[in-house]
């Protein structure tokens, strides 16, 4: 199977690695090859975090520029930082909630207001899906389930190679029992939001 390539962009602490490994485990269970790259260490302290997953025929876990099938953007500025992974064919999910780094309040850098960022994303990406994952996570019962909202929306994307039930099974196996209710609800809210677009 030609590899389906997913790039996840976010900020340390948002749970990008968890989303990637749930997808990876589900692919393995289905009997499809999967490779994934993640970075640990200093970058996790509020810095930029990207992970990549390739499902299908692939050896390297790194996606070529312009070759991502799907970008799951946990933060608007981080999606644009990862823009070179995308081409006109790439599907992009954009969480519209911003995380403003301390460099902005110290006057060392600037963060465009949300409408300008979203305008830029609309201009660049041909297949853009904007969702307020933070709001949906709160609705699910805990803002920390934001990553599961985005996982749900990813599974609802045209061309996503794994079934909803397969991902849910993988979530049940890798998330702590006491949070599973909220996480499944978050997943559903993300899934439905995309399906209804």
């Amino acid at each position: 199977m030609k590899a389906y390539k997913i790039h996840l962009a976010g900020v340390g602490g948002q749970g990008t690695i968890k989303v990637s490994s749930i997808i990876g485990e589900a692919a393995m269970k289905k009997g499809i090859n999967v490779v994934m790259s993640e970075l640990h260490g200093m970058a996790q302290r509020g810095g930029v975090v990207t992970t990549e997953v390739k499902i299908g025929d692939a050896h390297s876990p790194v996606i070529e520029n312009g070759d991502a099938d799907l970008i799951i953007g946990f933060e608007p500025a981080e999606i644009l930082r990862s823009i070179k992974k995308a081409s006109g064919k790439t599907f992009v999910i954009m969480n519209s909630a911003r995380i403003v780094p301390f460099t902005v309040s110290l006057g060392m850098s600037t963060y465009l207001d949300n409408p300008s960022l979203i305008k830029e994303a609309i201009k660049k990406f041909s297949h853009l899906y904007i969702i307020d994952a933070e709001k949906l996570a709160k609705r699910a019962g805990n803002i920390m389930s934001l990553n599961m909202v985005l996982l749900g929306s990813a599974v609802a994307m045209p061309g996503f190679p794994l079934e909803r039930e397969e991902i849910i099974q993988s979530m049940k196996e890798s998330l702590p029992g006491k949070t599973i209710g909220i996480n499944l609800k978050a997943f559903d809210l993300g899934f439905e939001r995309i399906k209804n677009m």
Binding site: V35, Q44, A58, H59, S60, E64, S87, L106, S109
Partner: protein, 620 residues
């Protein structure tokens, strides 16, 4: 995935493992009995997993004080008849180098693997050194796995190889292999051996010059034997997609080569080497005789490329060799599919379709890593800065060290001026104190202090340096994922262990000014720092407070959670909290109003002491 599966998984099971997790399974399948390390990214998760599984697996595991000690304990174990595994980040091997070199001379009785996790592109390191060169300095066989499956398989292979030629084996991974996840097919675990027995043989185990001259010769003989194995082994493979264009590659670089060759239908013949030192001359010679041009794809230095050129020269093989030395590929940073593609494209006759990608011109905010909300280091830096301000000291030098606190380099603190390596802040501080008339404040963490700070301290005291050393004791090795430090009453196996007192240690060395403060009490800490700065000679302040990640976890467990908020009617928008304290929970909203994000606030409450208007209060 439950970590236990790395131990309990059965033959023919498959797991989705990190390269580092696969190393653990590989060691267990290779019958490892003895494991040691000092944590360092990108190798840290190997220790995290052993720390959880060692007891259940019946394996001895320790976090050693530093990498040199880690190599020493494992070398002794392998000599006493236990298969041993020691791992570290690439620069850790510099610390271990002295003993590492000698293990090659002495050799081992049972298998010993030394894993070095290199960090091309320096995601979490101070340099990009290529430790494949260490295999050549020491004279030990080198293995380079490409993915988690191969990491696992080469562990067992490595133990067997090590025993066959009685040499320790070096395994080199890179960040992208250690932190890559892939499907790993399991095999049976070989149960460990409880205890070994050391048979005395001083002529083989003590490299006094009379013995060393013989050992050197024996080492070279072993390497000749090893080269024969490298020439014939199945772990070095050819992937033949036809044609007279060859690629020789190893480690993580192989993955990029395969993807680029397959996706673009490039008619290439790929020699993938996993056993790369001694370099398999005969195998490579035969391969070169079947191609007209060859591209060497390796991360970081042109190590194999030079080996290939030597073979081409020695045997006068008519083949064009491309790589870093021909500027076909870069000698810097980790590779990617794009870099490999560009390299292949540069060789005439190989055209590959260009892939278009999107770009943006908008300016994005800089997002460097930052000390967490509630981090005690922030409070320490704040208090030291206030003390310096109070005493009106100018041009203070801040030698720093390796740990989360190196992030003190960021504004507004900017209290990291000079850094060489683990433990260096005390040595460099001593140097600055003798070389200048400036005031010196060296910062060092608890784990780093024990790792390599102690010899520097003995030197500082004995050579009458004048400096303040701040030991930032956050009760853990925080940056690599909170592994235990010798100052904690617990060891790597999770057992209760003697807590090494920093205070007693430094007093024993003869430091006259030694005080311990809790940086969360800013005023008191500031007072002590002032006193220490006035002291002539070596002064030490131990700034002791647990890492915020530890206290967060404890509070979560007890379900006690408190956060702070700003009373807007008291706030004068002076911005001290935003611009001088700079906790990531603070943000500036509409009309310059300051707010605390309750999701990021850790509830440490130190900001209450920072606010000049007393406008910060508990959120109700």
């Amino acid at each position: 995935m439950n970590v236990d599966k790395i131990l309990t998984g059965k033959k023919e099971d498959k797991l989705f493992l990190l390269g580092n997790e696969a190393a653990v399974r590989g060691a267990l399948e290779g019958g490892v009995s003895f494991v040691s390390t000092y944590p360092g990214t990108p190798s840290s998760e190997i220790g995290d997993v052993f720390s959880k599984l060692a007891e259940k697996a019946g394996v001895y595991f320790e976090y050693s004080t530093n990498e040199k000690v880690a190599v020493e304990v494992s070398a002794a174990a392998a000599t006493a008849g236990l298969r041993s595994f020691v791992f570290m980040k690439h620069v850790g091997l510099n610390v271990a180098a002295d003993s590492f070199m000698s293990t090659a001379y002495l050799g081992v009785k049972k298998g010993m693997i030394i894993l070095t996790a290199d960090d091309p592109s320096m995601y979490s390191s101070q340099n990009e050194q290529d430790n494949r060169i260490y295999a050549r300095i020491a004279g030990v066989p080198l293995l380079e796995p490409a993915d988690p499956q191969e990491v696992k398989d080469l562990m067992k292979f490595g133990f067997e190889l090590s025993e066959q030629i009685h040499l320790p084996v070096l395994m080199r991974t890179t960040t992208r292999v250690s932190h890559m996840r892939g499907i790993v097919h399991l095999n049976d675990v070989i149960p460990p051996k409880g205890k070994g027995f050391f048979e005395k043989a001083p002529s083989r185990c003590v490299p006094i010059p009379a013995n060393a001259v013989r050992m050197r010769k024996e080492l070279l003989d072993k390497l000749i034997e090893a080269e024969k194995i490298a020439d014939g082994t199945q772990v070095n493979k050819v992937y033949d997609f036809g044609d007279e264009f060859g690629i020789i590659t190893s480690g993580g670089a192989f993955n990029y080569v395969m993807d680029v060759v397959k996706e673009n239908n490039i008619p290439a013949k790929i020699l993938k080497l996993a056993f790369t030192y001694p370099f398999p001359q005969q195998l490579v010679k035969e391969f070169l005789s079947t191609v007209k041009e060859v591209l060497i794809v390796e991360e970081v230095e042109p190590v194999m490329e030079k080996e290939v050129l030597a073979i081409v020269g020695k045997y006068k093989i008519p083949v064009d060799v491309y790589g870093k030395l021909t500027d076909t590929l870069p000698r810097i940073y980790e590779y990617s599919p794009d870099i490999v593609k560009n390299g292949i494209k540069k060789i005439s006759g190989h055209t590959i379709k260009k892939r278009r990608y999107l770009k943006t011109d908008i300016t994005l905010p800089i997002r460097p890593p930052i000390l967490c909300a509630g981090c005690p280091h922030r409070a320490t830096y704040f208090a030291v800065k206030e003390a310096i301000k109070k005493l009106k000291l100018k041009d203070v030098i801040f030698p720093t060290d390796i740990g989360c606190y190196t992030l003190g380099i960021q504004p507004p603190y900017e209290m990291a001026d000079y850094l060489l390596s683990m433990g260096s802040s005390i040595g460099t501080g001593t140097g600055f104190s003798h070389a200048t008339d400036q005031k010196i404040v060296s910062f060092i963490g608890d784990s780093t202090f024990f790792h390599a700070g102690l010899p520097g301290l003995v030197n500082a005291v004995h050579n009458k340096a004048n400096l303040l050393i701040v030991v930032m004791d956050n009760r853990t090795t925080a940056m690599t994922g909170r592994q235990p430090s010798p100052s904690e009453p617990v060891n790597g196996m999770g057992e209760v262990a003697p807590e090494i007192s920093i205070e007693n240690s430094v007093k024993g060395i003869g430091v006259e000014f030694v005080k311990t403060v809790d940086p969360y009490s800013l005023a008191k800490a500031k007072e002590v720092f002032e006193e220490a700065l006035k002291h002539n000679g070596v002064s030490i302040v131990i700034s002791k407070h647990p890492c915020a990640l530890i206290t967060d976890a404890e509070r979560k467990k007890k379900n006690i959670w408190m956060t702070f908020t700003i009373n807007q009617s008291e706030c004068t928008k002076c911005m001290v909290c935003v611009k001088e304290w700079t906790c990531p929970a603070f943000y500036v909203g509409k009309d310059d109003t300051v707010h605390i994000d309750p999701l990021i606030c850790d509830g440490c409450g130190v900001c209450v002491q920072v606010c000049p208007e007393k406008a910060i209060e508990v959120r109700k």
